[in-house]
Symmetry: D2
């Protein structure tokens, strides 16, 4: 089941390994016969999360199929603790699919935060922007097709032609990651500082994770999500 | 099912993600509609292995429960691309279980290879060695127990008492790794240069992997295992 | 000193840690007093390379400043074993600089290799392609500027406007990596299978590495670039 | 200069890459011409630390030579984001050097924390423990020597003989790590939950880091060692 995100994107679960019980099972290897301290799974998971005992969360793994605009992919791929296979634009032809924001998402540059956006653009300015985004994408793709076409010409190599395509074109990949590093990704990307277009993917994944490992997700939400770091002085 | 290794050790599969088909499925994401080139799974897997296209192999994951002597664990843990939860000797009491080599495995220092072993020791020398290994381990464990005991004394902290135990005591852990990095581990540790005591674990894992992903394992055996690197000049 | 690559790109060394001697120094920690086996540095380095003793090479580190087209950056960033800080197009305005291939680099899609290029395009077809690449880039950038401009309008957020820019626009980053993983990068990217536009960066880095660690580079060239690894069966 | 730790151990800096200014230089790549927001280095570093912008800290690297007991090395090596070359007990002969705690460090098992220690042992119990630790180590080493000796016998392989040696024997390694992951190590190992014997190494490294990158260290102390991360809910 592909869960839609943005206008043409999606997140789809391909496979899981482990669950809440698997986190506890691994944690209990460490404790051997020595413990009865934390007896129920929910309590143990909250304890592990609170104390940054992260390795038991690495015992769960998830594999996703994601379709996403290239500029989102460029932020996402910075998370190095994952396994990735991406659609090859050297090998294959990209589809004519571009992310075109909904008008109310066309926001102005933030005046307080250099790395963010502020109010939605007024209707006239918004319409002008949309027009450019659509027309430039269409023209770029027309020329992409014209360049690689082999009717009456040699046809430019795909690995070169794709350089003409803008960053809102869609790509796709398989992305596999353990739960600890997925939480790290979600903390950074489901956060208000993350760009809206990657945040909606992170939020969709939050829903999937909540269904998959409800106790671990609840602990993550309580101890990590939307958090802030206070200094010793501030405390 | 625990597959026995050495005198008290074992390797047990806890969970798998993916199989030969999953490797191909991920590889085909890259090729999109663009390819019919490599049509069957076995051929595609051999192609990927031969050309060091390692990321599709990362799409498979396996989780093992392993019981092993500490000196083997010390070599094993050097492989950083895995997820680990080990039995805690700070938290729990270690069992009285030591690796005592079979007499024919008691080999002399190699005369040609500084980092290896040569012929088996003669029976008399072998017997002497075995006697020491057994007696020292037994005495060390007796004192370990005596130190942590709380009968008529405070009882030394377990995290301190364990420092008295020799490197042939057994520990255990959960170890989870993707197939590409598992192959890397197996190439180094199922190799003749690896110490016998870790090699038997690697060989047992080879059997498990062969059952799990037969095409991938066959390609690994053909292109990696027991290999040697030749220089341009030598070629 | 910025070493030019492509039409607007460069590779510049910011800092080094270690050299040929540092590789040997680290390797000799392992051997302690036990060895005189490999006495000179050059021989030891060749030995380490031939036997895949990779950890001593991790003891050297290099930090580069690189300016490169986005489609090259997308291939490069797939190497996860590095540290990266990239120019932020959310935060800052991108420059009007696009990679426009030299006419003789405008090659047709390969007919034998789906993931490669073949002969150069004929002059007429080449000229048509260049025209499109230049005009589309120029128009996309004009609209990028028009969208973020704040004269008489709110000005679209930079993080959104950049999605209109094609993949041949330049970005830049600091990239820091250890020598073992740099060699792995160079083996894959200075290779004939790599796309020309990333290969020229890899080749430039080869020259820098050769100056920096001549013995290690010579061993790499001999055993990795020009050499081959044969399996036990093949042997 | 080797900074002594425990009875025979030490931490010695072999090499550095980068400093406080290098962190800022890398961070400013991201901001391009777009920023004057955070103008001075100290403020920028505090900002990066507070907001978990960790990649600029990865731009600094340090290489240490460390001598440490094996049971400490077993905890230390669990930090996978480092480069390591360890003394080989397959290749070389270990020295007769064991960690013997000072009497006031011989603590009882904690009654409140399963994974910790409580009060110091009384003098009589402490003396008994020390006696065992010393005698068992001495005897184990005598037998180690006797087993590998080649006078009138073949001599057991070193890789086997070392299994007789207890976990308080010393080993040594080169350990190289970037500053972000070093801070992560220090947060976990300079913490009260860490075992005393690794904590003293972490504390020694804290002193070295403070000299090396004073602004980064101060920010780390403020936000990580002394600070706290609160979730959205807790806020
Ligand atoms: C000619 C060519 C064609 C390519 N075509 C495609 C394509 O069509 N589609 C595509 O998706 N990619 C493609 N790639 C990229 C390729 O799949 C790798 O992502 C890239 O080459 C980086 O290699 P690496 O993973 O070995 O390097 P690094 O990421 O630097 O890793 C080096 C080694 O470290 C270990 N490692 C590092 N990080 C991790 C981690 N998070 N988990 C597990 N192990 C880790 C692994 O052992 C790995 O081999 C292509 C590459 C080349 C050279
Ligand atoms: C007080 C204390 C008690 C402990 N008790 C136990 C115990 O009982 N049993 C036990 O087994 N361990 C125990 N540990 C060790 C602990 O589980 C970690 O292994 C250790 O602290 C290293 O932390 P790390 O994994 O975050 O560090 P690193 O390995 O340096 O990793 C840093 C980060 O990099 C990423 N990363 C690096 N390598 C990988 C990889 N291969 N795959 C995925 N992500 C990766 C992760 O995001 C990770 O958080 C204990 C540690 C402490 C401090
Ligand atoms: C709001 C926001 C703004 C950003 N702005 C910028 C920007 O302007 N410029 C920019 O360049 N980036 C920017 N980033 C990306 C950021 O710098 C990180 O690259 C990204 O968030 C991934 O985080 P990570 O490195 O912790 O994750 P991962 O790569 O998944 O790593 C997790 C942990 O594993 C360890 N680890 C994994 N791989 C390695 C390795 N090769 N070496 C050492 N340790 C490793 C580290 O401990 C790391 O913290 C931004 C991110 C966010 C969320
Ligand atoms: C026969 C033999 C003898 C040995 N003798 C010694 C010895 O005397 N002394 C000694 O110290 N070790 C010794 N080793 C251990 C060896 O140095 C390696 O630590 C071990 O083999 C793990 O290999 P690896 O690093 O490739 O594996 P992994 O740690 O699993 O890494 C796989 C790949 O991922 C990448 N990678 C993963 N983590 C990192 C990271 N943090 N930074 C950068 N890249 C990373 C690298 O590309 C690496 O090649 C020996 C090993 C063998 C097989």
């Amino acid at each position: 089941k592909a869960n839609p995100v943005l206008d043409h994107g999606f997140v789809r679960v391909i496979d899981y390994m482990g669950d809440d019980a698997a986190i506890c099972q691994a944690a209990r290897v460490s404790y051997g016969r020595g413990t009865k301290a934390v007896s129920n799974d929910e309590g143990l998971i909250r304890y592990l999360m609170r104390h940054w005992h992260s390795t038991p969360f690495e015992m769960c793994e998830v594999k996703l199929h994601v379709k996403l605009p290239v500029f989102v992919a460029r932020q996402w791929i910075r998370h190095r603790t994952a396994n990735v296979n991406e659609y090859s634009a050297r090998y294959s032809i990209l589809d004519r699919e571009f992310y075109i924001p909904e008008p109310e998402k066309l926001a102005a540059q933030s005046v307080t935060n250099n790395q963010g956006r502020g109010e939605a653009l007024g209707p006239e300015e918004g319409a002008r922007v949309l027009e450019w985004l659509k027309a430039d994408a269409a023209r770029a793709y027309d020329h992409y097709e014209a360049m690689i076409g082999q009717d009456g010409q040699q046809g430019l190599a795909r690995e070169l032609a794709r350089m003409n395509l803008p960053a809102n074109i869609y790509t796709q990949w398989y992305w596999k990651v353990d739960l600890h590093n997925l939480f790290h990704f979600l903390r950074l990307r489901a956060d208000a500082h993350a760009q809206y277009e990657i945040r909606v993917y992170a939020e969709e994944i939050c829903r999937l994770v909540k269904d998959w490992v409800p106790h671990a997700y609840a602990a993550f939400e309580d101890y990590r999500l939307g958090g802030a770091t206070l200094s010793g002085k501030a405390l």
